[in-house]
Amino acid sequence: MRLSGTQVSDPKNERALIARIRAGDESAMSDLYDRYSGIVYGVALRVLGNTMAAEDVLQEVFLQLWRNPQAFDAERGRLAPWLAVIARNRSIDVLRKRPMEEDIDELPISTGVNLEDEASERMAIDKVRGVLAQLPPDQRKTLEMAYFEGMTHTEIASKTGEPLGTVKTRIRYGLLALRKAFS
């Protein structure tokens, strides 16, 4: 995860950053953007496949965090996965032409993944890509259709012609493969 910038994203720094944003410090927002715009933009671009639309989601996600920094609880999770989930969900909303919510209400995500420096981030990215590459192609495609295309299991089954049960199991085992790689 190129979180842009040289600062590491350890929990202590995240808490300090969010505290500055809550206090109305615009320079904190600039730091936050430098650290996390890469992941937000990357996810949005992957979902939407359009740079202008991805830039709009990037803008929306950071602006909402500026307006409502209380939405993120640093005690319960880490910023990077939380922003990634928000970026994914907002992008799916755009893709499906659903109105965006005013507030960011996703729960904090608590992963045990070490993202505290660039080397760790690079390793984590490589590991995720490695896990996905080792999944059977059908399973990887199913997982990506659900996550990056926002398709429901019924839609995936209809599109691929696979039984519903197969789609469900592929998604679960795909997620568990990721968990196992990082456990």
């Binding site: 890469g38 933009y41 990634a84 989930v85 469900k168």
Partner: protein
């Protein structure tokens, strides 16, 4: 998850927002309301799903995005920067200063009590909602079972009549005025030519003209079932009647009534 393996696949879908089977969704949500183990698994699955985002990292946004965001932030209504805490002790009289810890303690007690009450209220609300969901799920399952029996091609439908009498055609209507829905159950109906159908009419209590309430044809045994939504505001009915109409139905009755309200 070992004790709740039946929810394992649905939980993974739910974590991605990909579960769209409404029955399964309702059951899972009801279960999550009472099962901490599954809630923890859901949280873990969400974290697993978040890892997927890492595979998309790579492209960087253009510089203009940064400038656009910072311009937007500057244009937002300004939030007060909290001043650094700086207590000027010299401006406080010592006797007021001595009350400060007590005041703070009292405030903390009041806030704690309010939080405890709020927590209690939310827990009660949660319990009530879970109970409602469970009841809805049970009601839905019961209604589905009834409909399955009624609709099944393999069930045996029998009408019991007084001994030594020929079975008579019979139609029952069950009308839910508030939702404008009528359920029709018919038996021993005479067969119709291919170009004819039975048409049900709602007879408004106001005395207005009969309103079409659905068309139906009996099966080979003379049985039929129809659930029809009238699609308009609730209409008080004094009864229902049935005529025989051309295939496709009619907006007004064109033939004599073959079934009328009993009594």
């Amino acid at each position: 998850m070992t004790q709740h393996a039946q929810y394992a696949d649905a939980l993974a879908l739910y974590a991605l927002g990909a579960l769209d089977d409404q029955r399964e969704l309702a059951e899972l949500q009801a279960h999550l309301g009472t099962c901490g183990e599954c809630r923890r698994e859901l949280e873990a699955l969400r974290a697993d799903a978040a890892l997927l985002a890492l595979s998309a990292v790579g492209p960087q946004p253009p510089q203009r995005s940064r400038e656009r965001l910072m311009r937007a932030i500057e244009a937002e209504p300004r939030r007060e920067m909290r001043p650094k805490s700086r207590v000027v002790l010299g401006r406080l009289r010592s006797r007021w200063l001595s009350f400060a810890p007590i005041t703070v303690a009292l405030l903390l007690v009041m806030i704690s009590a309010a939080l405890v009450l709020e927590n209690y209220r939310l827990r009660n609300r949660n319990v009530r909602l879970n109970a409602q969901i469970s009841t809805e799920v049970q009601n839905s399952a019961h209604a589905r079972a009834v409909l399955e029996v009624l609709n099944s091609q393999t069930t045996q439908k029998m009408v019991l009549v007084a001994a030594k009498e020929r079975p008579q055609p019979q139609v029952k209507t069950i009308y839910e005025e508030e939702k404008g829905r009528v359920l029709l159950l018919a038996s021993n109906l005479a067969p119709l030519p291919a170009d004819k159908v039975y048409e049900l009419w709602l007879l408004p209590a106001s005395g207005a003209a009969p309103m079409p309430a659905g068309i139906f044809k009996p099966d080979a045994n003379g049985n039929s079932m129809m659930l029809q939504t009238m699609g308009s505001d609730s209409i008080a009915a004094k009864g229902f009647a049935i005529t025989i109409e051309n295939s496709g139905g009619s907006q007004t009755p064109t033939s004599p009534i073959v079934f009328a309200p009993a009594g």
